[in-house]
Amino acid sequence: LSTKKEALMTFVPWIAVVVLIVLLPLASSSNYVIGTMVFIAIYGSLAVSMGLLLELAGIFSLAHPTFFGLGAYCSAILAAKGIAAPWIGMIAGTAFVTALSILIGAPLLRLKGFYLACATFGLLVIVEIMLGQFGSITGGHEGLVGIPPLSIGGVVFEKDLQFYYLSWAFCLAQLWFLSNVMRGRVGRAIRSFRDSEVASKSMGVNIPLYKLRFSS
């Protein structure tokens, strides 16, 4: 009986949160509230994966926003130049950033403590400067314009409300996935070995959301 109760207790907060998020647009239809909630979902999922690295693996990586930005740029460039549909761009962006984070993570994760923090902070600034410098590809400091709206299977995501549901679906799915990972075998492995490869993979987890940030 107690295990059933425990299982119930873990599900109740999840259900409460999902119901609250589904019902919120009914309570307030103002675009401002919905728009803000979209950003809460996006930054929330960024914070979750950053916190996972810090809490579980003891890695204080300031390069996380770099991967966030690069994922967004990668998928946005593919979409804006008409090379691929936005949703393919999202997947390509995710794959690209995951590969990149493993490549960068392999040497950098040898560093310890504040050395790692300094190095990743340097990386953050480097990428920011480079994105500003290569204006012909990235749009420079003005940003990238003309990204077509995201569409999956004939459904075009244009309105704030659609982004609201999409971003929260991503955020909660990620939260659920990561909390399962933490409890499972991989989570224990990270805890005990502080495995560098898994850690760098988890850096790349939430990149699909980045496309959203730029088109919303």
């Binding site: 403590g113 504040f114 600034v125 480097i126």
Partner: protein, 290 residues
């Protein structure tokens, strides 16, 4: 312009930038060695020095008195930073200090942005705009002033740390805090003093460099980071930091001249990352040997 003149010109601009990084690096190591705080707001001291001077000067004060006021206000900000946000931390680690100081830097940056906007500002040069020609390269009195500041700061600090009682107390607390406290050194005073001194030097640097590179709400972070590069590569000692800062400046000057001026900051930061990696790898190897 001949190649020789070009090289001379890049050397001059490199040494100018290098002096700045050297002084900022000294600010980092002063604070880090005594308090173990990696103060990411160090660069903001530079920004405050320049921007406050510009602000007071615009409000009608003379250049000298506005520079004086800017230095005083930056010292007050540095001391407040230690007193109000760094000392109250209950179980401090280097990483919590890092997060706190990065956040404080963003706050002060945001305040300056709100008050004075995002345009870059400049202060008029102290000794006129005369240009001295040496073998085809040109040098302004302001550049000489910056180099003079570096010499003044390093000799002043060396004398202070070596000859005065308080300087010796500072060195003692850097070596062993508990021991220093047992010998009757007032540690909280020493900590405050270190932050104040870093604020003083940072503001002074910001005022000296503002006529050359201009100032703005966002100059702090990059200048500060390069100071950190100098401090890390120099092994947190004053001579090492000065040497590393000047080398970094020269490297940057030549990169800007011969490769690309837009990417010079990238080279400086790459140097830092590569050095950190190199040191970690060689360190772990020497550990294994032992």
């Amino acid at each position: 312009m001949t190649l020789f003149a070009q090289i001379l010109q890049y050397t001059i601009s490199g040494l100018t930038g290098g002096s700045i990084y050297a002084i900022i690096g000294v600010c980092w190591s002063l604070v880090y060695l005594v308090t173990t705080v990696l103060n990411f707001a160090t660069g903001e001291f530079v920004m405050l020095g320049g921007m406050l001077t510009w602000g007071f000067h615009k409000a009608g004060l003379s250049l000298a008195s506005s520079a004086f006021l800017a230095v005083i206000f930056t010292i007050i900000f540095a001391i407040l930073l230690e007193r109000a946000v760094i000392r109250p931390v209950r179980f401090p680690t280097e990483l919590t200090y890092m997060m706190i100081t990065i956040a404080s830097a963003s706050v002060i940056k945001g305040i300056i942005l709100l008050v004075w906007g995002s345009e870059t500002r400049s202060i008029e040069p102290f000794f006129g705009t005369r240009v001295i020609q040496i073998a085809g390269a040109s040098i302004t009195p302001q550049v000489i002033a910056v180099l003079g500041l570096l010499i003044f700061v390093t000799t002043g600090l060396a004398l202070f740390l070596d000859r005065t009682l308080f300087g010796k107390a500072l060195r003692a607390s850097a070596i062993n805090m508990v021991g220093a406290r047992l010998m009757g050194i007032d540690i909280s005073m020493v900590r405050l003093f270190c932050f104040g001194l870093a604020g003083f030097l940072g503001a002074l640097t910001g005022i000296f460099i503002a006529p050359i590179t201009f100032t703005g709400y966002e100059v702090g972070m990059l200048t500060g980071l390069k100071g950190l590069v100098a401090a890390i590569v120099g092994g947190w000692t004053i001579p090492g930091t000065v040497l590393a800062g000047l080398t970094l400046g020269l490297l940057e000057g030549f990169c800007a001249g011969f490769i690309s001026s837009g990417l010079k900051d990238v080279f400086a930061l790459l140097v830092m990352i590569l050095f950190l990696l190199f040191e970690t790898i060689t360190f772990s190897k020497s550990e294994k040997k032992r």
